[in-house]
């Protein structure tokens, strides 16, 4: 699991890549939370474009980011989700919680 992040106009984009499982989940969560705490963004985009595998640990990561952004009154977007992670996210009904499928980051 690797990630890079960029901040533009109060929008924090976190590019996730590699395999998301329980083994890497805690570290990823802490990295996302610390970026949100430092930059205090208005929105946070989790970009799944580079994710080659994800199990239900990814759901916990999204919910964790959502809680952190709700504390700031902001929102979470999920972008560029490949088919396998999308199937896992849909099984959890994640589209009821966050905005999905943004090919481009929100303006």
């Amino acid at each position: 699991m690797q990630y890079t992040s960029l901040l533009q106009d109060k929008r924090l984009t976190i590019l996730l890549s590699g395999e998301i499982d329980h083994h890497s989940a805690r570290e990823t969560m802490e990295a996302i939370t610390s970026k949100i705490d430092v930059y205090l963004p208005r929105s946070c985009v989790l970009d799944f474009g580079g994710v080659s595998f994800m199990d239900s640990s990814g759901i916990a990561i999204v919910i964790h980011a959502l809680r952190a952004m709700e504390e700031l009154g902001g929102e979470v977007w999920l972008a560029n989700i490949p088919a396998q992670p999308m199937k896992v996210l849909r099984a959890a009904g994640i589209e009821k919680l966050v905005r999905l499928g943004a090919e481009r980051s929100p303006a």
Binding site: D21, H22, S56, A60, Q84, V88
Partner: protein, 146 residues
Amino acid sequence: MKPENEVVAQFPSLSANEALARQIAAAFAAQLDPTLEELGDLKTAVSEAVTNAIVHAYPERIGPVSLRLRRLPGNLVEITVKDRGCGIPDIAKAREPMFTTGGAERSGMGFTIMESFMNSFSLRSVPGKGTTVRMRKKLTGRGELG
């Protein structure tokens, strides 16, 4: 049903072995010529079952987890994940979506995903003795054993 092929792997309940278990399952399933989606479903189900054993079966220690993969007639793949850990005190509760005792990095969706991604799913657990998860999935591919 007599298996046409079978592999058994045993490893300690270290979280680094979650990825190993997925790779073993993917390599075993490859001979059945699965679709990309089927392969993803199998890897996800294995990941959930093995992670459960690692997180819940042995909360205070490292113990053995076994993964058995079988190819059965009719293009069926059977996955059995077994531990000798603490067992599940309340199976009905454990299977409820979003229920977890695993802390912030768990979503409580593992059993829901295993049930929806596989064609059949069974769970046996005896407190103090261990837990066995058995799942089957029928693949559409036409892989032949050489």
